[in-house]
Amino acid sequence: MRKIISAILLIIIAGGITLSLMKIPFGIPKTKVGEYYINKGREETGATNIVTSVVLNYRGFDTLGEITILFIAALGVGAILSLGRKRTDKKEKIEPTSSIVYTGCRFLFPILLLVGSYIFIHGHLTPGGGFQGGAIIASAFLLIYLSCPGKRVNEKYSKITESLAGLIFIVLGLIGLAIGQEFLFNFLPKGTLGTLLSAGIIPIIYIAIGLKVGSELTGIIDNLIEKS
């Protein structure tokens, strides 16, 4: 009986989603604001990647909210896992990983760090940005946690990096507020389109976001592996 009811419910939901999706004309710009971003985004922000120009310029304040959400999530994981249980320094026997995993992870770690940094430094030119680069950096640290048990990221330095990066974002936004009467106003010169040093404050903010996301996700992994 329950299975029949759930099947009927699923069919109704699927029909509703199909009906509502059928009316959306995919590929045809419906909103004017999207057209405006595509046509004017490059000149106004100086970033060749339109996604970046929307994420960090037109909707920069929302990005601050996203960063805050990630920060609160990392804080919650840390709080739940470190409170409520006594931190006994149990001396577990650390089993060494196999030499293939060890060597492979040690080989991949610097390359992944380089790719992640490249992605968030070139966020205004090529696809990708702070969130993607930060996630790749965190997966590089995940490889180290997998291959060398017992080795940990220095918590003090990772927290300093995270706080400094968040501070840079907010201070840049406030300077923009002081100069241009709006939060995250692009007060630096835009430079020539398509070069590394262009688009004003966008690359600086993306580097800050990349470092912040990378250290936060690494902190979540560190908490999950070491403290639980």
């Binding site: 990647n49 996604v51 992605i119 696809p127 990708g128 940005g129 969130f131 993607q132 996630a135 790749i136 965190a138 997966s139 995940l142 996700l217 979540i220 992994i221 999950l224 592996i225 639980s228």
Partner: protein
């Protein structure tokens, strides 16, 4: 193009169903990882490389790792 996308969506559906049905949680997590990977490829084919990168890095790598860590600390098989 549309054939490739259809095949990928079909594979994605199959691995999603496998992830829901399996009793072995570790295999289910790997099936979920396959769903994320195919979603990343689909995003790339539909010309959204930014989202594809985020999906590949977060959905396929970090979420899988977090699930595997959680399974290691709890039980592997569902009752």
């Amino acid at each position: 193009m549309i054939i490739i996308v259809s095949i990928l969506i079909f594979l994605m559906l199959v691995s999603a169903i496998i992830a829901a049905v399996l009793k072995d949680l570790l295999s289910a997590v790997i099936a979920l990882c396959v769903v994320s990977l195919i979603a990343a490829v689909l995003f790339y084919l539909l010309q959204a490389p930014d989202v594809a990168m985020a999906e590949a890095a977060i959905g396929a790598a970090l979420v899988t790792a977090i699930f595997v860590i959680a399974i290691r600390k709890t039980k592997r098989f569902e009752e």
